[in-house]
């Protein structure tokens, strides 16, 4: 995947870190200190759509066949997460119990065009 630069226009991953102290949550979230809420942004022109390794899948292959057959039938292509991982949290719940959980698919590691 590609990380967004200052003036990226093509599909890339935009880093965005949420510091729990900055939003006043450090008193109830014990670990970690923040959350990497990265997101995908940018253009997916047709020549980038479904390039293997970006979001290659059977679905993409079928779409490519349709596009190859008739450009008019081509559908838009979107910039989406292609790799995500869990966010591990250790926090106090409303009864001050200590709770640990891994929230699946919360952190975007890479983006690509469908």
């Amino acid at each position: 995947g590609v990380d967004c630069g200052a003036d990226s226009r093509m599909c890339c991953r935009q880093e965005f870190f949420v510091d729990f102290k900055e939003i006043g949550w450090e008193d109830w979230i014990i670990q970690p200190e923040g959350y990497h809420m990265n997101y995908c942004a940018g253009l997916c022109p047709l020549h980038m759509a479904g390039i293997p390794g970006l979001a290659a899948s059977f679905h993409t292959a079928v779409l490519n066949r349709i596009k190859a057959a008739s450009a008019a039938a081509a559908v838009d292509s979107c910039c989406v997460p292609t790799q995500r991982r869990p966010l591990s949290l250790l926090y106090y719940d409303r009864d001050s119990n200590i709770v640990k959980t891994d929230i699946p698919d919360m952190i975007v590691d890479s983006c690509g065009c469908t």
């Binding site: 109830w28 959350y35 253009l43 891994d102």
Partner: protein, 232 residues
């Protein structure tokens, strides 16, 4: 909207940087609270005393028979740990006792569990850790009753009763999984533990109120699988 700026992908007017940051922070908060099934962030928590927390974590670490059995919050490293049932969100909960009423013969301990977790998860296992101070010489009989409030919340019923012979000081454990599981439908889930000793020999637990011997419950839970829609 920033002057003339347009989102390259969808053409919508791009947000001014400050506004965009506020929107993203609000989105992050909402996303985390939704995934934790919390209606709002918990109000200022009262963290347990450091001594109690360290003693509990040390106890759990000593309990290590193999890391697989060890509650996840103690496994090294902050990262996620592949476990059976991966894919469904799993929870480890460490709950410290609140002292309830006590007499020369009985001690009551209360453990509270959050309504959201009790409703949206199934308890896989739960273990009560109790510390016995130095009992009088010879074995000392203790009765441990797990009480749960009846649905109306007015009375309590005995969920289970266990008799122990306390031979020496130290930690002991008791499986409280079924009793904690039975709390799931309650408005404010609370498990009460009653310890009863014979009159003349005092309570092996009463003697020691120090934080480093505060009783606690460790529970493992997993998000309930959404009911499968039966295909007609």
């Amino acid at each position: 909207a920033a002057r003339g700026e347009r989102c390259p992908a969808c053409g919508v007017a791009a947000l001014a940087p400050g506004t965009q940051r506020d929107v993203l922070l609000a989105l992050a908060k909402q996303s985390i609270l939704t995934k934790l099934r919390l209606p709002a962030r918990p109000s200022a928590p009262q963290p347990p005393a450091r001594g109690a927390l360290l003693a509990a974590l040390r106890r759990l670490r000593e309990q290590r028979s193999d890391t697989a059995a060890l509650p996840g919050m103690l496994r090294d490293g902050p990262g996620p740990h592949p476990r059976p049932g991966m894919g469904l969100q799993e929870y480890e909960i460490l709950s410290f006792a609140e002292s309830g009423s006590s007499t020369s013969r009985t001690v009551h301990l209360h453990f509270r569990f959050s309504r959201e977790l009790a409703r949206s998860t199934e308890i896989l296992q739960a273990t009560l850790y109790l510390f016995w101070a130095a009992p009088s010489p010879g074995a000392q009989p203790v009765t441990i009753r797990l009480l749960r409030p009846d649905p109306a919340g007015t009375n309590t019923t005995v969920a289970s009763e266990t008799r122990l012979e306390v031979q020496r000081p130290g930690w002991t454990t008791l499986d409280v999984g079924p009793a904690v599981r039975s709390l799931s439908g309650q408005e404010s889930p609370r498990l009460t533990v009653e310890l009863e000793v014979l009159e003349d020999c005092g309570s092996p637990l009463l003697a020691d109120h120090s934080d480093s011997h505060r009783p606690f419950v460790v529970a493992q839970a997993r998000a309930r699988t959404p009911h499968r829609v039966r295909r007609r």
